[in-house]
């Protein structure tokens, strides 16, 4: 569905991404993990179109999108959420989610200004669709008219997910969906992600630091460290990979771990 081949991105002398390659299979959850500054968000930014990689290609549905503008990629069906919530703060929950439907609507300027025919029908249809597929699904009914700025953090994250869902995306990029959430909120979010995958077969890419959740729900894990891809595989394979353990715990920790293991 989505593949990144030998992508490299540098800001001056700093290599944010260095020869990263992986394929996110259709309908599966791919997690991207790595220590802080490993290049996870940069990877998301080249996929969603904010940065253009200096080398390498990005293929979406066998189409080369490496040089496409961000809004064109959205039209193709790539949606994302941000690490620091990027909701439209002056609007209600409902209006935020409606914006997710932007690419699927076709109301023109004149029809919009007079609010006749097409515009009126389309707005009613969008509303019904959002109520069914997003608000009901993500359990947001009680806050649909609330201004987003007044909502607690966990709910804002959920509204942002809802906005992405309203795009009916083929690929969904989630940048730290459970960062700063408590156990219960994390479990809710994990359940929503699995439900999205099951209900619409959406291909999901996920950047996350919560290892418990990553290992529980992903089909494939990509590990980055200092921009380089140090491991790729199923959660079990990655967890057993010495390079990954080293990146997370440091060299001495690895030797200590092996040392304590030896007597047994």
């Amino acid at each position: 569905m989505l593949s990144v081949t030998q992508a490299s991105l540098a800001f001056g002398g700093i290599k944010a991404l260095d020869d990263v390659s992986f394929t996110a299979a259709s309908g599966e959850i791919t997690a991207i993990i790595g220590p802080n500054g490993a290049g996870k968000t940069s990877l998301f930014n080249i996929i969603s179109g904010f940065y253009k990689p200096q080398q390498g290609r990005i293929l979406f549905d066998e189409q080369d999108i490496t040089h496409l503008r961000a809004d064109k990629r959205a039209e193709l069906g790539i949606a994302r959420t941000f690490q620091n919530i990027a909701l439209f703060r002056g609007m209600s929950v409902l209006e935020n989610i409606k914006l997710g439907g932007h690419t699927r609507l076709s109301t023109g300027f004149w029809s919009a200004g007079f609010f006749y025919g097409e515009a009126r029908r389309e707005e009613a249809r969008l509303r019904a669709e959002i109520e069914r597929d997003v608000i009901d699904f993500l359990e947001l009914d009680h806050i649909r008219k609330a201004p987003v700025a007044a909502l607690p953090y966990g709910l804002q994250k959920r509204v942002e997910l809802g906005r992405a869902l309203a795009m009916q995306p083929k690929v969904l990029l989630l940048d730290e969906p459970v960062a700063g959430m408590n156990r219960e909120e994390t479990e809710d979010m994990a359940r929503f992600i699995l439900d999205i995958q099951a209900r619409w077969g959406t291909t999901i890419l996920l950047v996350e630091h919560d290892m418990g959740m990553v290992m529980d729900i992903s089909n494939q894990v990509v590990v980055l460290n200092f921009g380089r891809q140090i491991a790729l595989g199923t959660p079990d394979q990655v967890q057993a990979n010495p390079a990954v353990i080293e990146a997370y715990l440091g060299t001495s920790a690895t030797t200590e771990a092996t040392a304590t293991e030896e007597p047994a």
């Binding site: 179109g49 609507l105 007079f114 509303r127």
Partner: protein
Amino acid sequence: MITGHFKTDYSADEGIWSNWPKRWGLVAALIGLAIFPFMASNYALLLAGQIGIFIVAVTGLNVLIGYTGLMSLGHGAFFAVGAYTTVAIHHEWPLTFPLITLVISTVVAAAFGVLFGLPSLRVKGLYLAVATLSANFIILFLIEQDWLAEWTGGVRGTETPNAVFFGIELVSQQAKYFFIMPVMVLMLLFAQNLFRTRFGRALIAIRDKDYSAEILGIALFSYKLKSFAISAAYCGAAGSLWAYFFPAILPEDFGLNMSITLVVCLVAGGMGRTLGPIFGTILILLVPEMLKVVAAAITGGDATSQTWVSPTRDILFGLMIIGFLIFEPMGLVNIWDRFWRFMSRWPFAK
């Protein structure tokens, strides 16, 4: 008192005249607008016409500043484009139907708006304000050129035509009022509708978080230019009405001074709301008149006191605006909102 909104389908919930105070408020406002000219003096009608025209222009500026979050200090120039296009059309074809002139003036102003909106691709905020400032000087410079003087009258200004509908010439203040107000009401409704659909939501999204708008598939540059075009078009329409309303126009009517007045009206009324431009314009254009009346009452119309009365009035007006910005930074709409919030709970709670 409204205890709740009971709706049975989504279309009803999406409506803008969703409850009886709004519906009856609209009806009352329209009836008020319609009977006002039969009760008002000529001077009051002059003020009303001016306010109506300014509301159109400020509503346009609201699309750009209030809803799209792009700053402009050059919209007085698009006002001028509208006014002078109307004069030029009547110079060439004296019998053009006024609504056709109005539409052409609007389109020409929109084209200038797009041109001066081009910097918005790269710059935002104060930088954009400075970039748009140039519109005042460039457009007024063009209007004052000798080779355009045949149509614009150059620096000395020009007389303007009266609108003629099916052989009826609109000469009196009252007749002109009935040309301006329907245009104003329609343009207000158009703007109001725009912001409940895909198009307007995209503009608000750009204001609130531009990169987030981009990943939802909103082409930033195209929408920013459209926003410039719409706002300039509203100012162009206002300019056209202005040319029909006043007997003569001068280039200096439209310069930086007008650009700033438009922004002040918007800020005083409240940005990003349909009612904002209405409240703001009425306040900013009426208060100097009230101060005039008060000053005349105090001095008893004594001519010798004129030397200090007029500057004092300006200082009072300035102080009032500063006070307003400090105590009501969200504009007059905020007071309006508070009033209705209070009313919805009264008499059970305060």
